[in-house]
Assembly symmetry: C2
Homo-oligomer: 445 residues x 2
């Protein structure tokens, strides 16, 4: 449904430091975009269908800037290795299975359904090197109504034979064919996905750069995650002043090329400066960075410098698709970084992590992640009634509590682009929105 | 029911480094204690009622060595202060409310029910300074069938007037009266609970020591949590060589006095040595120590030194009653401590945190936290079917995944001392155990 209104306790980030709260307010959706938040519904919108979520909390949809769909199968297992060993021991062997479409069908079915029933509305997702499996993943995600970017992964060196493309040329050719087949999707867009510098030859990066320019594609990859990895990149790319330059020298690091770099745990001044100047997005993945003993990114500094930062679940470095968990761990890890390592960068605030999870990451998708006028209408309705309490709480206190304690039972409904993509099945509520819904968001129950 | 058998995939810690897994095995309960784990049920037990939990995972009940019941109301809120400011700004104001029994009734009702439906079977719990509210808490917990220790808190200095007992004498007198009233409980035992050295005069500690000897009571308190707190204790207790000595000089630090000290984030060699020699239990509370920017305790070192260590949720420094979450965060925080701060103490393993959550903390209660012969029969049946996966997983992999991902939907049943205290209501299964159940664990649905 293109035009409607929802009512409840409305929270969104005005800036990284300011949370806007409107109790018992209205958010108006017109043509899939927000037409504003109101304490009292203006006369002109009174004829629109309005669903009253009463005392529930309504927030913008959450954004996951970095997640590996094929790794969802082994989340939370074998968490005893660092990055490179973990890739070689666990990850690559699992990703190789996606050559088998029967396996991919099962695995990606689970991933797509769990992402649909999470509070995430937008995501940037890694597939594997396999074109057919990646198309299958995109097919499944397209039907969820979520708006996501998915990448067929490129890797043509330093990878086990069973997960290594035979040449830069073949990798690029497969990628272009894949791009052509992506045109059939409504909600899913392709994103170029060189795995990371160690697994991509210079020739491959050059060819991907050509594709980027030809098709005006966004790019996602990994950057400065782990100390061992960074040393390896230095060896592999003599003459570069920082890891970021290994992408930048092929035009795959911002500027005209919308770019997400996951992690940036150990980025130095030069790298930060490039990212700031070239509008590269940081996907901060605190749980993964703890699980793989990578460290903690100085995210507060990135935010204060004006860099673009969102959050990522980084399945299966991270264990959970929940961006609430990513918010909580971003605060917690920033406190430990401050206490144990570097007193020059203070702990993150609740406002800052909520901003990163919504408007900060959302910016990668355009006007996304806020209820300000003109933003795409992505909304999540939260039910915190299972978190009982004897005292009166403010909406802001309830939201902070949800950041730490939300679980699979906390979401009542989810909208993307104005369309409902999820609604709790037990509550018995039938809304006017649901019945009239049509188009890409419909029929996803 | 005193004698029965449960069947499923049985996991318990043999040692801190060895997880015992028996697929499709049997645990036998006789007179409330384990009579062993078997791959095939011995003939002598074949006549006992047996409940088959099929492919579910059965573990010993989890142990929470440190939790503040009155703080459950504000878990996950206001997480932007360090310990002393947090106590003064948030905690003390909330605890003062428990003078009002109507408030206590509501708040403790929620706490007791949420603890019952968690995977925790044993806990050491702080109340407030208020005798009546603490008795009310104990009453509610007694009815859950869980086996817990609860303390009326003592504090007679450096506390706001509204939460400060008027003298050491009055505090001790109230405590002795409270102890007498505790005799009516079946499952709940009293534990002496001087809040921490800053809020207890020497006179008070001396009087509590007398009570300890007279009634042979266990003791719980806080130790070396936060740098500011440690400096303060140094000022308050001139002549002591470490924080631990401020309790030890009154005989409240192990030896004949079973003692739990929460946190021990910054314990030095001298303190560690005393704790080891005097069998003081460490309650490691990783989430709280992150939330309050206290740091990360070197728990791996404590374990390797042979010290006694369990886990604590430390509500509301911690946000969640889940000891699964405490396990996951113990691993994660140990990795960050190793990466950011001190390479001499390595990351914790899955085996170590599972040990701490069961047998390590359980030892405070006697033979608790294992399925070895003679241990009290505390068991939790876990259903991981909502964590779907396309590939075959080992039981150990499934257990590790639950440590990271268990939520409110993961528990099917819980036993304490052989009695069922929780059983999932939706599954429609009626077990032979339930119908015959009698005694303190019964009627808690």
């Amino acid at each position: 449904m293109k035009n409607h209104v929802i009512k409840g306790n409305i929270c969104y980030s005005a800036t990284k430091d300011a949370l806007s709260v409107t109790e018992n307010g209205y958010v108006v959706c017109q043509e899939g975009r927000c037409a504003g938040v109101y304490e009292n519904l203006p006369k002109e919108y009174e004829t629109l269908p309005c669903h009253n979520y009463e005392d529930k909390i309504i927030i913008p949809g959450l954004v996951d800037l970095h997640v590996h769909a094929p790794q969802y199968t082994f989340r939370g297992m074998g968490m005893d290795l660092e990055l490179i060993d973990w890739l070689n021991t666990r990850t690559f062997a699992e990703e190789a299975k996606y050559e088998d479409l029967e396996y991919a069908e099962k695995a990606y079915g689970i991933f797509a359904e769990d992402l649909r029933t999470s509070a995430t509305t937008r995501a940037c997702i890694f597939g594997t090197i396999h074109t057919e499996a990646t198309l299958l993943l995109m097919e499944k995600l397209d039907r969820t109504g979520l708006q996501v970017c998915v990448g067929k992964v490129n890797m043509d060196r330093n990878s086990p034979q069973y997960l290594c493309e035979e040449s830069a040329e073949k990798s690029a050719k497969d990628t272009e064919e894949w791009l052509q087949k992506c045109q059939r999707f409504h909600n899913v867009r392709p994103i170029l996905t060189p795995r990371f510098t160690p697994s991509c030859t210079d020739e491959l990066l050059e060819k991907l750069s050509e594709l980027q320019k030809k098709y005006h594609l966004p790019v996602q990859s990994h950057l400065s995650e782990n100390l061992g990895e960074i040393d390896w990149v230095k060896e592999l790319c003599p003459g570069t002043s920082c890891y970021g330059e290994s992408y930048d020298r092929y035009g795959l690091f911002g500027n005209g090329c919308p770019t997400i770099m996951a992690h940036c745990v150990h980025s130095g001044d030069k790298e930060m400066e490039m990212m700031l100047k070239q509008n590269v997005f940081v996907a901060h993945c605190p749980e993964s960075n703890a699980n793989l003993s990578s460290g903690v990114a100085p995210v507060k500094k990135y935010l204060e410098n004006g860099m673009k930062v969102g959050l990522g679940s980084d399945i299966a470095g991270g264990t959970s698709l929940s961006i609430f968990k990513a918010m909580a761990m971003a605060v917690q890890c920033s406190k430990l970084r401050w206490r144990l390592h570097d007193q020059s960068v203070g702990p993150l605030t609740m406002e800052e992590v909520f901003y990163m999870a919504t408007k900060g990451g959302g910016e990668f998708f355009g006007k996304v992640g806020s209820f300000e006028k003109g933003y795409e209408f992505d909304a999540v309705v939260l039910d915190d009634s299972s978190l009982r309490h004897p005292q009166k709480l403010s909406v802001k206190e309830r939201l902070e509590r949800l950041i730490y304690l939300a679980d699979g039972r906390s979401m009542t409904a989810k909208f993307v682009n104005g369309h409902v993509v999820y609604r709790e099945s037990q509550d018995g509520i039938k809304t006017t929105v649901d019945g009239n819904d049509s188009g890409h968001g419909a029929g996803q129950r």
